[in-house]
Symmetry: C2
Subunit: 327 residues, 2 copies
């Protein structure tokens, strides 16, 4: 399995990518890795026979505009994309600028035949143990047409079936501000009609943002703007509540004792709701497993993104899209 890793991207750069990449290498024995970055700072990887270090000069800024990012050919992002293509790799993982990664991947790695526009997709936890739901688009496309939303539903269902085997016909819902068919924007209303007619999916209707965590949804589709609001509100609320719980336990000796008694359950909950474990989002629709890790990834978060890339490659997700998309 050939994987390219952008070692320089993200808010934490090498502090996040070096320790996680080491753990990743030592966990799997079927990897061939290409690490992109300042190779003078990556010398500790020289001891691994299955690692190739590739020099890059610059790092695309987190708020770079996509077009100038494409022209920055010595950046870890663009050198990474080139390495990916030259070596016919399976996966590319980066915590760098979302906009730049999306443009570079779409423009250079290209879309799978028949795909209108790629979208970011990732699994989320639910109240039910081991049950996940997936959301697309999480922010690749600020606005979407009804055809794009409809295709996210088809691709999202393939993604869901490939990754999880608990449901044959994943239940697809459209994120909306009400459940009735005529709710939401003009695009929502028109997409609803297309979704209902789409024979490749099991469309169940509109759903409000408060409900998917309860486990009744498999695939949630939305434009990238609302998807991003959904993702980040969940992240912020979960983080804030974890902080409140922590404070409640810290108050005095009795509450500290209380914490010792419920520690396991609380840690499990925090782990479940921690966005760092979400593992980065896949850019679904391009011709390779391209993973966007969270910009503020720490080692744990970046490792989780690396593991997503590994998992999606091992289940042959790209082949599944090609087989099923244009049936």
């Amino acid at each position: 399995m050939k994987i390219v890793i952008d070692m320089m991207g993200g808010d934490n750069g090498l502090r996040a990518t070096i320790p996680s990449t080491k753990t990743f290498i030592e966990k799997h024995n079927d990897l061939e890795l290409f690490l992109i970055g300042d190779i003078n700072k990556l010398t500790e990887f020289k001891k691994y026979k299955n690692v190739t270090l590739v020099q890059s000069e610059t790092v695309v800024k987190m708020d770079a505009d996509p077009l100038s990012a494409l022209r920055e050919t010595n950046s870890s992002l663009m050198v990474g994309i080139k390495t990916f293509l030259d070596n016919k790799c399976d996966a590319f993982i980066s915590a760098g600028s979302t906009g730049a990664l999306l443009s570079a991947a779409t423009f250079k790695i290209k879309r799978i035949e028949g795909v209108i526009r790629p979208g970011l997709i990732t699994p989320f936890p639910t109240l039910i143990k081991n049950k996940k739901f997936v959301v697309c688009d999480l922010g690749a496309n600020t606005t979407c047409t009804k055809e794009e939303l409809n295709q996210f539903a088809t691709m999202g269902s393939i993604y869901y079936k490939t990754l999880f085997h608990d449901v044959n016909e994943p239940r697809v819902y459209q994120l909306n501000i009400g459940t009735e068919s005529e709710k939401g924007t003009t695009v929502n209303k028109e997409a609803y009609i297309l979704l209902k007619e789409n024979k490749n999916i099991n469309f169940k209707g509109n759903i409000e943002a408060r409900d998917p965590l309860y486990g009744n949804v498999d695939v949630l589709i939305t434009d990238g703007y609302s998807g991003n609001i959904f993702l980040k509100t969940m992240e912020g609320t979960a983080k804030a509540m974890s902080k409140m719980i922590k404070d409640a336990f810290k108050k005095n000796i009795f509450t500290k004792l209380g914490y010792l008694l419920v520690r396991k359950g609380i840690v499990e909950m925090k782990e479940k709701m921690d966005y760092k474990n979400v593992g980065g989002a896949m850019l679904m629709g391009v011709n390779g497993v391209v993973i966007k890790a969270h910009g503020s990834s720490d080692p744990k978060g970046f490792l989780s993104a690396l593991e997503s890339g590994y998992k999606l490659t091992s289940v042959h997700i790209i082949d599944k899209f090609k087989e099923n998309l244009n049936r």
Copy 2:
């Protein structure tokens, strides 16, 4: 203080409104109330001298379209609005259909002079004790123009200053999918320019959905679609996490003991994050204190909406809008 209460609206109808209205009456001694509904079911209120019962025949369906709701003149909603106008009342509170309430209030009670479009606003909790932030629009307008967003900022700042006295120049942010000025939709980008030039507000820029809970925002403005996604994602995540905490404490005798030790802090947190305590949203911009209680309000939630109506009337919020809006 003259307040009209729609006793029939909402998923729980009289089950929610009767007990909360009783508590409300007994708490305040400056009320003159008009209770709208099936008066045969409201006989227990006959003993109060400051209560007038007004008969209505139908209840507007929660998913009614606004125009047919306007024509349903015997509904508790429309009888309520008429009672409000005939008696020159201060506040009107309903847990009924959002769309119907908005149309009826805008059409019959009318907008304050200069207001382009009313928007739903309500305070939210933050990690900082007693510190709230307000969000507008929460779902009255699926899409908004840049001028409407800019006016929400002006009105939201007046609302914030009137309700909370901790900040003289409330910090206004635009909800967006990134912090840079050129992020988001075309309307976001154009609104950013207007907001920056608006001399009546203290505009601080764009903010992502994960951040407002931390207490650095006073007024968050957004179109009703994204605002509704934000509200409901927060509600759903908080509810799901409270459920997880409950489950963690229920596991065995030791975790139950642990709960006894931290009970106070956990209850405080759940109270803080419970949407039922949010108290209903004000339809900001119409010529009266119109409060939309949560459709699924229980007695506690509806009481909280009644208290919002009381509070906003006692701080003379409508006069403040009139004084400050067209300066």
